[in-house]
Amino acid sequence: MDDARTADSHGMTIAGKTFRSRLMIGTSRYPNQQVMLDALEASGAEIVTVAVRRVSLDGGGAGLYDALGDNYHLLPNTAGCFTARDAVLTAQLAREALGTNWVKLEVIGDEETLFPDVEHLLDAADQLVNDGFIVLPYCNDDPITCKKLEDIGCAAVMPLGAPIGSGMGIRNPYNLRIIRDQCSVPIIVDAGVGTASDAAVAMEIGCDGILLNTAVAGARDPVKMARAMRLGIEAGRYAFEAGRIPKRLYATASTPEDGIIGG
């Protein structure tokens, strides 16, 4: 795919850093660690997300950092935080633990939908930007909220396509198109992607990247699905850059019609 990749004139640039892959992938819920490592490699992703959790009294846990730290940009999230206060402290601990000032900011409003709490999200984003973080906020597909996050100084916006882990795809492509029109920072569709065509659709709208986890980790064959996602994102991006034909209700012949036998 190298020829293809280089042919992608843009790449994905966030906070001045350029990545060849437009996919960010999570590390959770794989059948086992080897499948995870194989899937991450097949996905072509350079950025993988991790979480921070309290050390349990029975110790353990250094393993993940050692397994991934050398090969990937580890992007810590603040999953599970319901308040700006918890999210900010979690981000600061993650920065200390990983030595990175990048954070995937999640402030959840409800355990059933895992939709973000917009008020707390904006508050936390503001605090973290002022504290020197590169903030990548998981948000809903509300254009107003996305614009505010951009104005606060977030390095990208990460609207959901559908609830986390739902696999429902891009439920409202219209809002994503409006966000694309109104925001100049990169748009990463976070959550909702269930299969390769969902990822392609997001890219064809003009989004810059995709963050996913369950769709790959929960597939019957995670490694094959990881490859499918990588290809789907590349396909959608090329289609976006290539400029598709307009949609028509009626047909237009592809084969010229002069000189037909019996014609």
Binding site: V52, A62, D66, G69
Partner: protein, 69 residues
Amino acid sequence: MNGSIKVNGEARDWKDQSMVDLLGEFDVAAGQSGVAVALNGAVLPRDDWGATRLAQGDEVEIVYIVRGG
């Protein structure tokens, strides 16, 4: 000297230990990467772990990197 401290939300005996002592109980080596510590709601940089002695009533958070999405 019988006081207590709170570690990751649970009460624990205070033994006038240093942070490094406490971390040892969790198999966390001094300066280990992938781990972070908060003392009373503020991050405690790894360079200060050694010099930090715990006081009665201190609240400590010890976190590490785990799988996430």
